[in-house]
């Protein structure tokens, strides 16, 4: 496992190409949205990163379950990698949400249920990392991480639901789906762009995840070699 596997190298190139194509589609293929103008294009990145980020959380939760059942270190590496990368993806979601909001609705922040939930998930990730940092024993670190990832993942739908209900009571007259974040009607080309963007980010996530897992495994290998030497 010393050099990058061939498939991963191919995946790297594939990701870059996909991303380039996605950018082209977003800026030139999808039509200009009538009301919000150019800034609406952020939507393609914003929502895609959110969905993929959630996928990452699912991966972390599943890795957690498998680790607890099997106690194999590699599943801990997978879980940790998934959280780290999802953290970045959600950060992009939050920031792009802010960028979208400002010109579109005049505020830097809308307490939109999805955006708020994304922020809370981000906080769960941060808590996960802090939890791991405070533990020296690697097995305990893995176990606690797994448990927290599972708990966190289960709380997300409930959190989203509660914020959504909350929002509805504040803005009883709902403009489109989801309150603050106005929906717009998507044309076919927009839909295609969106699906493509989603696909691109999924592939990007998988690539990054694979790299990060390799990094984690290599680190473990270094650690075990170091131990051998010092004994």
């Amino acid at each position: 496992m010393q050099t990058t596997p061939r498939f991963l190298k191919i995946l790297d190139i594939f990701s870059i190409i996909l991303f380039a194509v996605a950018v082209v589609l977003v800026f030139f293929y999808a039509e200009l949205e009538a009301i919000m103008g150019q800034v609406q294009r952020v939507f393609y990145f914003h929502v895609a990163t959110a969905w993929v980020g959630m996928l990452g959380f699912l991966v972390a939760a599943i890795a957690g379950v498998v680790y607890l059942l099997k106690h194999e270190r590699k599943w801990d590496v997978v879980g940790f990698a998934a959280v780290e990368i999802s953290l970045v993806f959600f950060f992009i979601t939050i920031v792009s949400g802010s960028i979208w909001a400002r010109p579109a609705w005049g505020t830097w922040w809308t307490w939109d249920p999805r955006l708020t939930t994304a922020t809370i998930v981000e906080l769960v990730y941060a808590a996960y990392l802090l939890l791991r940092q405070g533990i020296e024993d690697p097995d305990r670190r893995a176990r606690f991480g797994a448990v927290y990832a599972i708990l966190g993942f289960i709380s997300v739908p409930l959190t989203f639901l509660s914020i959504r209900l909350y929002d509805r009571t504040i803005h009883p007259v709902v403009i489109g789906n989801g309150g603050g974040e106005g929906d717009f009607d998507m044309t076919t080309r927009m839909m295609q762009t969106f699906m493509f963007s989603l696909f691109t980010f999924s592939v990007l996530f998988a690539t990054l995840l694979w790299h990060r897992i390799r990094l984690g495994n290599l680190a473990e290998m270094v650690e075990s070699l170091r131990l051998k030497i010092t004994q």
Binding site: A127, L130, Q133, R140, Y148, G152, S155, S162, L165
Partner: protein, 239 residues
């Protein structure tokens, strides 16, 4: 020294019996110890009253605003005082190595979870039972309505179900006390939102169909998280 009787440590008649017996033993132990030292309750209580005091100055609690804000103030108070209780309750186990003592007992690990959780719940109830009348008096609001008490019950259960598990984790880390709120608050947001909305709804005497979804959410949360927490507890305490 008297000769020891050759004892066959006979297990109780039914496994359920010994399970409940052990849970009861843990709850009794926590309550008895607390009754002696009163450390936990007094610190939770003083803290809760301080929080209310701070809110008094931080928010303009004029008569009109009070009804809308009371729910929020109460739950923030309970949430923060609650972390004190959770931390202290697990810390006593950790400090003298007593957790090992519990783990050595021939009972299922979940006994420890339920025992501690029920103990924590009782402490929260005690604090709530004292805060409510004081708040009622200070702000001339009647907080003793059955609906409100139900909400407080449901909310506390959810909070303690997750809190006990997370406190057991936090107490085994380097960063301990500081870590618990960081771990806990993002996960209990549904409880806080639902409890606040339901409480406010009851105090403002809103129609039932506006309050019911919140109560349903609380019940669902309580069931899901109690089940999940009790299943995951084993993995927290076993090495």
């Amino acid at each position: 020294m008297k000769a020891e009787r050759a004892l066959q440590a006979s297990p109780k008649a039914s496994p359920v019996g010994s399970f409940l017996g052990a849970v009861r033993a843990i709850v009794w132990k926590d309550l008895a110890a607390e009754l002696r030292s009163r450390e936990l309750l007094s610190s939770m209580l003083v803290f809760a009253l301080l929080v209310i005091l701070i809110f008094n100055f931080a928010l303009e609690l004029d008569v009109k605003a009070r009804a809308t804000v009371t729910g929020g103030v109460l739950w923030v108070t309970f949430a923060f005082a609650g972390t004190l209780g959770l931390n202290r309750s697990m810390a006593t186990e950790k400090d003298r190595g007593c957790l090992d003592g519990l783990l050595l007992a021939p009972v299922d690990r979940s006994v420890i979870y339920f025992g501690k959780a029920i103990g924590n719940l009782v402490f929260m109830f005690v604090v709530e039972a004292i805060v409510l009348p004081i708040y009622s008096i200070l702000y001339n609001v009647n907080l003793f309505q059955p609906g409100l008490l139900l909400v407080i019950l449901l909310g506390s259960v959810g909070y303690v179900a997750v809190g006990t598990l997370l406190a057991s984790m936090a107490v085994q880390t380097r960063t301990r006390d500081v870590l618990l709120p960081i771990l806990l608050f993002p996960l209990v947001i549904p409880v806080l939102i639902a409890a606040v909305k339901a409480s406010t709804g009851i105090l403002e005497i809103l129609p039932m169909d506006q309050i019911r979804p919140w109560i349903n959410l609380l019940v669902v949360y309580d069931i899901i998280f109690t089940a999940v927490a009790f299943m995951l507890f084993d993995y927290i305490v076993e090495e």
